[in-house]
Structure formats: C-alpha cells, structure tokens
Symmetry: C2
Amino acid sequence: MASSEIETLTQALARLPGLGPRSARRAVLHLIKRRETALEPLLKALGVVSETLATCSVCGNVDTTDPCGVCADPRRDGRSICVVEEVADLWALERSRLFPGKFHVLGGRLSALDGVRPEDLTIDSLIRRVEAGGIDEVVLAMNATLEGQTTAHYVAERIERFPVRVTQLAHGLPVGGELDYLDEGTLAQALRARRPLG
Amino acid sequence: MASSEIETLTQALARLPGLGPRSARRAVLHLIKRRETALEPLLKALGVVSETLATCSVCGNVDTTDPCGVCADPRRDGRSICVVEEVADLWALERSRLFPGKFHVLGGRLSALDGVRPEDLTIDSLIRRVEAGGIDEVVLAMNATLEGQTTAHYVAERIERFPVRVTQLAHGLPVGGELDYLDEGTLAQALRARRPLG
C-alpha cells in the first residue's frame, strides 16, 4: 500500500496520545493532501521546537528559552512560587491565568510503588530557591491523589524551617459538582474544610 | 505559558483530523518530554515524506515514488484496474490485501452540488489506460453513495465501447449486519441482488 516512508510517519504519529493507528492514517492522508497548508507548517513548527527546546534551569518548565517565558517575565510576582508535579500542570494553571507568581516543576511525585524518591525530583533546587530569599509564599499545587498529597507534605516539611507561608490548593466540591455524583473522599474533604458562609 | 513556537506547533497539530486543541496540547507535551524517542523520529519521518512525496503519474496514488509502489510492483496483475474515488479508498482496499490488480484514483466524485465535473476527475486518464489495451476488467469501487454511484455509472458509460469487463463492488448486508438495524436502502439493495443459495 503505502511506501515504508509513509508507514514510518504513520507509526510516529500513532504513538502520540489521542491518536491510534487508524486516526494516524487519516492524519497522514490529511497531511499528504494538504502539503502546503498542513504538512509544511507542521514540519516547520516541529523543526523550530526541536531546535530551541530547553528545560528552564530555574523552574523546570519546558520552553524554547532558558530561563523560560514565565521566569523571564518581569511582570510576574517573584515572591510566590507555585509548586506543581509536571509541566502539564504548570500549563494548565497558566491557561487559567489565575496565578500571578512563578512556578517550580518537581518533575513527578513521590511514589514508593514506582520507586520515585525525593532525590529523583527537583525538591533540592526548590529548597535552594527558597533559601536564596525574596520569597513570601509557596503554593503547593500537587494533584489531589495519595501520591500528590504525600509529596506535598514532604515538600512542606522541608520548607518548614524557612520564614515563608506554605499554602495548598483548596480541596472540595468542583464547580458544578452535584453531591449525588461525587465520591466519598471529596465529600469528606469538603465537609471537613467547611467555611462560614460569606 | 508556552512560547509562541510551542503554540504554533500545538496549532499545527490541532488541525489534524482526530486531534483538537486539548489533545494537541497533550501531544506536544508528549513530544517535548520524549525528545529523542518521539519528537526527533516524527520530525525525521515528516521531513522524508515531505521531500519525497509524489502523486503517481499512472494511477493517481500518493507515494514517495513515481510510479507508486503498487504500479511498479511486477507481481500485481496489470489486467485489472480497480477505480476508486480517493487515495484513502485505495489504501483501505490495500489493507485488506484482497485485490491483486492495479488501481486508478479519480480524485473525487461527480457532484452537481459541489460543482465537480468529469474534467475535474482523472477519468480521461483512465480512458487512456483502457485504450492503451492489455486490460481485461475494470472494477468500479466507488462509495455506495448517490454521488459515488452517479460517478460509477458515468465511468461505466465511458468505458462501454472498449472490450473490457466492467464490474462493481457488491452492495448488500454488511458482514455482521442485523436486518433490524439496517436502513431501507441497504435492505432494498440486498433483496434486489439476492442470489441462489450456494
């Protein structure tokens, strides 16, 4: 059917999350039929990113510059650092445009099961940033999973001795969440953390 | 959040069929985290295809060689030509490995609505292939849609004057199809084309 070159491209695309062999084939046909408007732009964009891709030496974000766009932005409040597990989490928070400070990407979460220890994450580099001073608040924004929360507690303990405020994202009902459909863990969390009405 | 280069790549990926803005972002993160094993292979495969992509001057297939792999294969039976609407249809038939002959890609279907006329398709080039001789059978494998069938009839009429057998894919119940769930058109077709039992 298709030459081995086209087959290779199909397989490379099929390995992307969200695409399987079938949709990768459709994508390849799409690219092939639209050489100027789809294939060439994608090739160029990939090439540029491949050439300039860098991990930020300050926060661990991935960007085409080092320090990354967030760290280099003078309008961001350098006094608060939001600690996240993965680059994807940083991007998710950035899309919401709610956090005006800087970030720190741990590169994962502590996990006895997967054998991830503190030294496998960028916790030491976070401590050095806090140690260097000029920071008022560290916001722990790990996932609300067992491993995420274990990591949060570990990081909180390590920062304890510095004069910074350590906070954590609130846990409770998601917006639009209906009690009837929520799991018990979320309900328990929401009840425990109940607050006086405005 | 991400630099404009990464944003450009996300948008290029989001335009692929089967990917939206959200899954394109996930794909970009996947590529960025796996630079050696995902980004570079995809970049290379795209580059090779972009450089070598060619439309077969014989049958209209898209491949990295001209004539394409199917036309150049000496083991294929050049006496039968299977006529399809699109390259995707040729690939679908090739995946089934059921047709041992060669192909002809029309590049679309006749459509009064979309203003597609016979001269917009590669019908003349098909006629020239038939005229050149050495062909016993032309298999019409257009889609079982109104426009596909109109196209099939038009092509059949044009080939009529040559001494070749013109056949068409059978229409009827799909394998595993339950009468109860099939549309009336398919049922009518299957009934009309009923055959004596083995």
